[in-house]
């Protein structure tokens, strides 16, 4: 596969190579682009993990276990999609975990206390996410507070608000028929009984596809990348960078609202104490997927693969009866290795 490298160099020296068969050249150009290479590496790692665990533990490939991996990926995956937007724009959002919980609690208030209809509850959760993202984005863009600090503050404030609003007690959705179906039923399973893929995973993929379209085909996406690559140049091009930053954070917030609905539906309750720590898993998934923490580069496919690597790893180690403490250690090492691979790749390019 190394012979693809000369073609990469040929492209870089801006000499087109028309002699090659077009299709082959296209495949190589696509797959061997630096961003694509990290994705390929991540994808190969995922396959390697799957193969390893299926040999190591016969129960790994059981349908129940696969469904459990998918369920576990859904929430972290959606949060990672939200983080991808913000990280590609050159920012960071530490509040995604507690925001997810806050949105779940808001849905709980709307549905179980105010007895509003289910679609309204869904809208409240997503609306709460957008609003919170708007606040974070405004802190970063208008008040120029560094994203790390602004969203650290938001993380704590939202955690506190969730506890205050819920009275520190879980809110159960027993009276809301259909709420648990959001996450736990399987529309695909109804159609194809052999594939009992839970709705949560379906939603994850729909969110990821919509986000990928937004990131690659819309004005928002183009500005998101541009903000991450060179914010000052964009400002000097006459773009209202403050406005678009707020939009990026608000978009991320809205997606966190969806994650809040997924987790509340899966647990059939809003657990106000939950949430902290999810932001780090989400950031880890984004980074493993090849998105640069310095912004301007990244893909949602990479993020989804990253999220799956995280959950396969956790699940596989648990099935192999590796102690919980060691699971955490292994996850930490994997994240460091993934980022180091990214640094090596960057160095090789320059």
């Amino acid at each position: 596969m190394t012979q693809a490298n000369p073609s990469e160099h040929a492209r870089m020296s801006s000499v087109p190579t028309p002699s090659r068969p077009a299709a082959l050249a296209f495949v190589k150009a696509r797959l061997w682009r630096p961003a694509a290479r990290q994705k390929l590496l991540a994808f190969a790692s995922l396959i390697a993990l799957l193969v390893f665990f299926s040999f190591a533990s016969p129960s790994f490939l059981a349908v129940d276990n696969i469904v459990s991996i998918l369920q576990a990926t859904a929430v972290n995956g959606v949060l990672a999609v939200a983080s991808t937007f913000i990280i590609v724009s050159g920012g960071i959002d530490l509040s995604v975990g507690t925001l997810m919980t806050f949105c779940a609690v808001m849905a709980g208030v709307a549905l179980t206390e105010l007895h509003l209809p289910l679609p309204v509850g869904i809208a409240v959760a997503i609306g709460a996410g957008v609003l919170s993202g708007f606040v974070s984005g405004s802190l970063v863009a208008r008040l120029k507070i560094p994203p790390f600090i602004a969203t650290l503050g938001m993380m704590m404030a939202l955690k506190g608000l969730s506890l205050v609003i819920s009275g520190t007690k879980p809110i159960y959705f027993n009276d809301t028929p259909g709420f648990s179906a959001i996450s736990q039923d399987s529309l695909i399973g109804d159609l194809v009984p052999a594939l009992p893929i839970p709705n949560a995973v379906l939603i994850l993929f729909l969110v990821a596809i919509a986000a990928a379209v937004a990131l690659n085909r819309t004005l928002l996406g183009r500005y998101t990348f541009a903000l991450g690559s060179n914010e000052e140049a964009i400002r000097l091009s006459g773009v209202n960078v403050d406005f678009w930053k707020v939009v990026v954070y608000a978009t991320g917030g809205g997606i966190c609202g969806i994650a809040g609905l997924l987790i509340a539906s899966r647990l059939n309750s809003a657990q106000p104490a939950l949430g902290q720590g999810y932001e780090l898993d989400a950031i880890a998934a984004v980074v493993i997927g090849g998105t640069s923490l310095s912004g301007g580069a990244g893909t949602l496919l990479g993020t989804i693969i990253g999220a799956f690597i995280m959950s396969v790893l956790t699940n596989g180690l648990r099935i192999m009866s590796v102690a919980q403490e060691w699971q955490t250690v292994v996850t930490g090492v994997i994240i460091i290795l993934a980022v180091y691979a990214d640094i090596l790749r960057r160095k090789a390019r320059t």
């Binding site: 492209r11 000499v15 087109p16 004005l219 990348f225 690559s229 000097l236 209202n240 580069a297």
Partner: protein
Amino acid sequence: MSAAMPPLVSMRGLSKSFAGVRALDAASFELRAGEVHALMGENGAGKSTLMKVLAGIHARDAGAIEVAGQAVGIDSPRAALALGISIVHQELNLMSHLSAAQNIFIGREPRRGLGLFLDEARLEAQAARIFERMNLRLDPRARVGDLTVARQQMVEIAKALSFDARVLIMDEPTAALSNQEVEDLFRVIRQLREEGVGVVFISHKMDELQRIADRVTVMRDGRTIATLPMAGTAMETIIRMMVGREIEAATRAVPDTSARPVALEVSHLCRGTAVMDVSFHVRQGEILGFAGLMGAGRTEVARAVFGADPVDAGEIRVHGRPARIRAPRDAVAHGIGYLSEDRKQYGLATAMDVQTNIAMTALPRFLRLGAFLDGAALAEAAGRHVRQLGIRTPSLAQPVKLLSGGNQQKVVIAKWLLRDCDVLFFDEPTRGIDVGAKAEIHALIDALAAEGKAIVMISSELPEILRLSHRVLVMCEGRVTGELAAHEATQERIMQLATRRRASAAPPTTPASADPALQ
């Protein structure tokens, strides 16, 4: 000083290239003990590079350096310091949260208690001793961030002296100083000269150099032109040696734009000390050259007009109507474009492709269904400009960072043309661009003016100013010091205006004497 004594520093045949660009070409330099030696030349003449070689910051490609008669190989700043060679950079390198004494001895802190603890008392005493030597009243415990720029500079000099400096290099030390502060600096320099320190003084300010320097070395295009005693050398002689090139025959036909409508008018623009009461106008189809030395405030004027930096006062009129510009997007909405001197930092998202960069000023025009980018329309518009400007790129999807400097600059131009801007600020349009591409960019600027665009071109390269400008405005220290019509503009006259400090009472030689000779 006896004639047999070798000079303190002797540099011969020094050459240095950066990425194929020759910065030094067999340059030579000699410094005696106990002299103040001025180093002069246009921007890019090689002054700073030569001194950075001496200070061990750049490694030389060829040439010999002797210090006190001994051949030395200076391969690092550490090696230079060991030889007693210290440099005070134009930009101060101090840690503002630390005290003056801590800054001076950073990395060399005296210790006590088995070397575990810092000996602050000894640190401060040593700093105080250096200040005393400089005849300077300054508290070693003062936080550097609280000091004025001039006093910070003194701390830098003290730091340089703390290495037992025999050679002190100062790169434009007076750029940010007031007249009184310059006096204080000169007093310290004279003190050091008394003690036998050799001082190299890089500056553009003729009047100051005439007062402080014993000898002057003039550089041009990386070569040493001459070394002369300062006393008895006329300013004009030095300027002529700095400029050097034969004046290009003024055969160029300058279009008469005096009847064209004024596209942009700026009145009494002020921004701190960087821009002081600057007024100018530019007409449709006119190229207004902004000449001056680096740091004269030209970029600051452009950025202020463009809304990139806040202004204190001033009025801007676009096509005769007052324009309220508070952010770059307001300027863009008024049809004003700004092409920064630093393309990579301010002009391009270099990791992104050609097409996106070209369209960056006008992306909202390419929307379908309110949010989706119309790829085909984008490609069509970007492709049109790529062809029109002759941008050499394998495809529209090529990341801009893989293009040459000239082609990157064309991408920046394309970006403003796509937005239909009719007032364009070019800030150093050909910096870092090779000779062939330079001519192309020049032709392009000419063509844009012929189409009726109003162009303000900032350039530190006098030949570029003379070749393109229909009218030249000269700035010095934040002020406009003169305006010249194309036929009046010569390198000498521009240099005179560009070095005219407001406070210096002595007027520069009147241009009248030089003028007729050039007609």
